[in-house]
Symmetry: C2
Subunit: 342 residues, 2 copies
């Protein structure tokens, strides 16, 4: 089985500074992996000179003359940048020359381009963005994180079916626990879309455990593997958690830097503080999957360093290895067939 991944080498805030070291690390660690680095060959060739010799069979460059800016409008990028590193990387997936593509570029442009080039899986109405976040139980997978606003009950149900396959692949678990994000656990709570989605999920083959609240993303009373929500809600929850973590980290730093006594305490506590940082390190949760498309696209955080970008490549590797797209297509078909029978 092939394992070829195209990398948008120019995307993200750090471009090749992140993408190249991450790519080379992955090639070193996984001898089955083939990478196609997409970008301006005049920039990439000198940087990859030695690597192209070391990994002559598993590394290549695909030239792309343009680059999508991080703040470029998705519509403009789609219309005007037909030879961007992002677009060419996605084209490789579409043409079957790569099994997945990884980009740290502009999220909106990546989604618009991926949707335009790859098209949707039949039966799926809207794509969704899925990622994991750290929790007291390890981590929780969540979708949608912002591809959509105003998701219908049917959209939410489809997100659950798709997300379930990804969790099965990434976590090696047979029956992920699926929760629906709501403002209370009682049946009467929530908006109409969520209540209707709950009915669809109760009647499905998924291991649906009911409503969960916002705290379940990081620290609920019970482990949940997959949390499903509308993209407006999911994006705000994600950013709220980022803000909370930033505030606590900043208060920690400030408090430990106060005077010589607290500075001494910081030095003594260094291994502990380091362990905490590692445990909630967002770089180890990098790599969001764009689901619902006929090809695998993994979005890395724009600010990703090489460690974070490597995590995103790793997500792509597992999803290719577990044949996630094929499984999603099958499950969507099964779910829709079941629906027709009811």
């Amino acid at each position: 089985m092939s394992l070829i991944i195209s990398i948008d080498a120019m995307g993200g805030d750090h471009g090749t500074d992140s993408t190249i070291p991450a790519a080379l690390d992955c090639l070193r660690e996984n001898s089955a992996l083939h990478l196609i680095m997409v970008g301006d060959k005049n920039i990439l060739e000198p940087l990859l000179k030695q690597a192209l010799i070391d990994f002559s069979e598993r590394l290549s460059i695909q030239h792309a003359s343009e680059c999508v800016a991080m703040d470029e409008s998705p519509a403009k990028a789609l219309r005007n940048k037909k030879d961007s590193s992002m677009r060419v990387a996605i084209n490789l997936v579409k043409d079957g020359r790569a099994d997945a593509c990884v980009s740290a570029g502009n999220t909106g442009a990546l989604m618009a381009t991926a949707r335009f080039v790859l098209k949707m899986i039949p039966g799926i109405d809207r794509p969704a963005i899925m990622s994991s976040m750290p929790s007291i139980y390890g981590h929780t997978h969540v979708l949608d994180l912002g591809a959509n606003v105003d998701s219908s009950a049917e959209n939410l149900f489809q997100f659950a079916v798709m997300g379930n396959e990804v969790v099965k692949a990434l976590e090696n678990t047979a029956e992920p626990k699926v929760g629906l994000l709501n403002i209370g656990e009682e049946e009467t709570k929530g908006n109409e879309q969520v209540k209707a989605a709950a009915k669809l999920l109760e009647n499905s083959a998924l291991n649906y455990i009911g409503y969960v609240e916002g705290n379940s993303l990081n620290a609920g009373d019970e482990k949940v593997d997959l949390i499903v929500c509308d993209g407006f809600v999911g994006n705000i929850a994600l950013k709220s958690i980022e803000g909370a973590a930033k505030m606590i980290t900043s208060v920690l730093k400030e408090s430990f830097a106060k005077n010589w006594l607290t500075k001494a305490a910081a030095i003594i506590s260094y291994p502990v503080l380091k362990a905490i940082k590692n445990r909630i390190d967002p770089r180890l949760h990098n790599g969001a999957s764009f689901l619902g498309l006929k090809g695998l696209v993994i979005k890395s955080h724009g600010g990703a360093d090489s460690l974070a970008f490597k995590t995103a490549i790793h997500v792509a590797i597992v999803e290719v290895d577990k044949n996630v797209i094929q499984k999603i297509s099958e499950q969507v078909e099964i779910a829709l067939t079941q629906r027709e029978k009811i």
Copy 2:
């Protein structure tokens, strides 16, 4: 000017264990304050025996034979518990015998009862729940935190007008910075309600600064005084932040308890850890205002201890002192008159 507050003495997980010490502390600290403790007089009288002598002019008991359970359905509580401590405390506000009421009871029942008894301010379509949360800049006020789902643009606009008056009162600031919670700062982002609400806010007299993202609740790039959102979104953001804080605290505890070396580090770092805890202590942000009603109702967290309950009473004191209800009514009228002119 009078300053009489009715206290639902029986509400919350800890009932009189929290409400009585908090009430007595407030009476000691504020010689203008009068409190009416509402609940079963057979329980309250023995507990308040000495206090009724010490504060004979400023403390009284109002008997209420029933109590709303924390998990009781709001509709049932409203229909069947007409002599509950919660209901009687609200009745005192309605009858003009108290200027505000504070309860740690069941949120849904408190909102339903308050709305039924006090009625809405003319021009306000829906009540909202508003609270503050810690941020790197001090704190941020947010509404709605869960009174509503599916708020319209007009609802969001009304929340902003009401919240603005509360922030002015609590923060002693003339022109609070008002932000609208969204999934991006660009004009094209968001759902239809949020986009339409932005138009209303741009054309208002409020100091509207535009869209803010979830991270602005705790740690945005810029200080925001008031963040406006739909209750479904606000509640999930609030709970997500609680979960994130709980996860980080739990990782901190676990990491510091690992071995004798880390335990020693914890002892040395104790003052720092204590300072951090104080800085983000949710008890110091207790006391949510129910806005849109013709009377002041402050909701304390159900699990509040006496310090937290005291913070909630303090919110009531300031809002009475600053005449918030009157100001909201005036501003709503002004805003609606302006609207008609346009």
